[in-house]
Symmetry: D2
Subunit: 245 residues, 4 copies
């Protein structure tokens, strides 16, 4: 039977996210909510979505998704209910030498679905620096480097921390990106990048190896876009693990 | 065997598009090009992409895609080669009463792939007006209406005109959108919308029926986003035909 | 003497905003910070900006701006220091008939400067509905309406509430926009819009009158963009009060 | 007397631009058109804008602006009429060593006004590479570099070529950006950037010096944004010549 998708997009809501430190992060999420259903659209769909979102808005977190989506799915007699929640996540990072702390922002997305089974994907986007192996090899001195962005999405068995997925994504870099660096830190990241040249495909392969080695991760996809400093276009690479069982 | 995706994104090129009238439209496309390959990434990938694009840039059109992608696929010994080309398409429309002509812009996308078989999808985004059935029913006078956007993607058997796919998408509207309307035209579209209320799901269903009835279309997907005039969020609906053979 | 501008753009930080209800809103701001200086650029500029932002990040609010900007201005021996902070603001609104509450999002911006004098501008963007007077006049039934956005910026004498400036901007609408409306509410806003047709210039004029009548407002600018439901383009109007003393 | 601004935004039109080579570039422009007037808004404003744009659409070029704006200004009895036209401009560049040609895209904007006098500003945005002097100085090897963007706006006496303004903006770079580079070219730009470290303020100062030395340029403003490879934020600088007479 063919399914129709009906939903709402781009609702902004303040949300509260649990951090590894035990604190809560107050941030703002952009939320989309939709169902797949065989029956004709009833205009109460949209009202249902808003009403349910408003009901749970003070406790939007990972555990509440199943409940919220179950409620929507049941009330609309749908085949499945889906939710996407995208928000900026903040992490205190320490500069590599001076240990100066500063706040880094990472885009984060929760993608949840309730059908026969429940599904949940955690995705993050981490800015990194990459330095070009070819440029280093052929040049007497220097090597072009640039900002890049790693997108890592995972399905997991037990619970997982956003912070750990961010760390995994950043591990693929020539060097990491920081909000605040003092001179000893800037020297460190410059030399580290030079010693650690990576093509986009190298970054993706490295992150994939680490994700594969993590027993808690049952599925992942990793993509990397490099905003080339010497070219107008972006280069990118993408890799996905075997489908989740 | 697991495939890696490697490519380039966001190359802008002037392109020339064949119109139904026989004229050519000169416009500017944003192009992404990538391959899926089992082997290790060779840094000549990116050079290959740019070199091949530059070679064909004066003749970028639908027929040249297969050739361009075949060349990329062969040279990089890839499993498949893919290209996405997005550009603004211009159509002269006639206002419904006064027949005043004006130029309307539609976003258009060609998605091509070469693997064992060739694949080509034509997609367009058309702005439309929708008027809410519920609002009309419960109000003594007036009814809220708003801008919406229909995205129709098709696979086809013989060749197909962009203009015809645009017309198909616009047929699902409460009333169409025009660049220039005189008073008799504005009266016409206002009353037409009032007589033709559509929920997002109604629009999608109507366009789907017409696409299904077109013997040249072998597969389609239709989505509609409505930028609600009385709400902050968007409503949307989506529907897809059975998978292409 | 010619001044050079040097700064940083697009730093994201969690911030805490005082609400009229007495509660605090936790949200995320995008911050830009820059100075105008006659002397040669010293690379410690950027470090200064980040360091000072990080110092005040737990208490970012209106009163702290002067202090933060004074510190930046003094340390860099600049002519002036400037800061722009843009964030989503949330307000609980009650539907006009059923009084159902829902959360509405408004873009908000603080623009502060410290030179010889201090300057502060509060800006908000409010979504509204407008209904076209011409369409109503010439049509037997119905009238095209659409989403629009009012941007109101003010300088004020004593303190001012974001909520009050939002209310002022929304007062120019054919009818307001809500997150959640039940049938009696939808009937109300549909009929209210029909009874209250406004061109973009009417909206701007009405908001300007109300701003002018507010003794606490020393300067304002009001702009309105209407995302026409029957046209592809936007219409807009803008008006500014006499320069602030 | 207080003026109201009324206009339309974001009309897309195919346009034809004269190139220095003698050829014409076919591209697509986004156009905004508005007037400042003391009198009450007449809804024919928007119709006038669209009608006049449609009239001139086949010959949109620099000389036609005065005529188009004069017509709008006269018909609406406005104090002044203004137009902004933004489009991608394409230039064939030759790689520095192998002289391989490839097409580079630059954002370009014409800003025209007709009041008591005529006014015209040509603006371009050029991507460049910058290498950080501090990073080079403190590191044993390597130096962080990144993509940046220079925005140069000029008023001029006689006619001026877009190509010449682009060349002026690119001259401020550590090294230029190209679409296609072969190994000898990549070596060249990597070493050139290393030998030519520039802070954002250095770029802006260099471009300003060259603009000031050009007798055809009566006014300019130059801004530069650097998308730091080791930081999350952007750094930027801005400088403007004395006001035009």
């Amino acid at each position: 039977m063919k399914l129709k998708t009906v939903g709402i997009k781009n609702i902004a809501l303040p949300v509260s996210i649990q951090k590894k430190t035990g604190n809560r992060l107050e941030t703002v999420a952009s939320i989309s909510l939709y169902v797949k259903m065989p029956r004709h659209y009833r205009e109460t769909c949209v009202s249902t979505f808003i009403r349910v979102l408003n009901k749970y808005q003070d406790e939007i977190n990972v555990r509440i998704f199943s409940q919220l989506l179950d409620e929507v799915k049941t009330e609309l007699e749908a085949e499945s209910a889906h939710m996407e929640m995208t928000f900026p996540f903040f992490l205190e990072k320490q500069a590599p030498v001076t240990r100066t702390t500063s706040l880094m922002e990472y885009k984060c997305r929760f993608t949840a679905a309730v059908a026969d089974k429940k599904d949940f994907i955690l995705g993050i986007w981490a800015p990194i620096t990459t330095l070009c192996p070819c440029s280093k090899e052929i040049s007497q001195y220097g090597a072009h480097n640039q900002r890049g962005e790693v997108n890592l999405n995972v399905r997991f068995k037990k619970s997982i921390w956003i912070e750990d997925i961010i760390a995994l994504a950043e591990a693929g870099a020539s060097s990491q990106v920081f909000a605040l660096l003092k001179r000893p830190d800037e020297k460190f990241v410059t030399e580290q990048a030079y010693n650690n040249p990576m093509f986009v495909e190298d970054v993706v392969r490295k992150v994939a190896e680490m994700a594969r080695a993590n027993p808690n991760i049952s599925w992942f996809s990793v993509g990397m876009e490099s905003f080339e400093s010497i070219h107008k276009h972006s280069a990118y690479a993408y890799l996905e693990s075997a489908p989740a069982p």
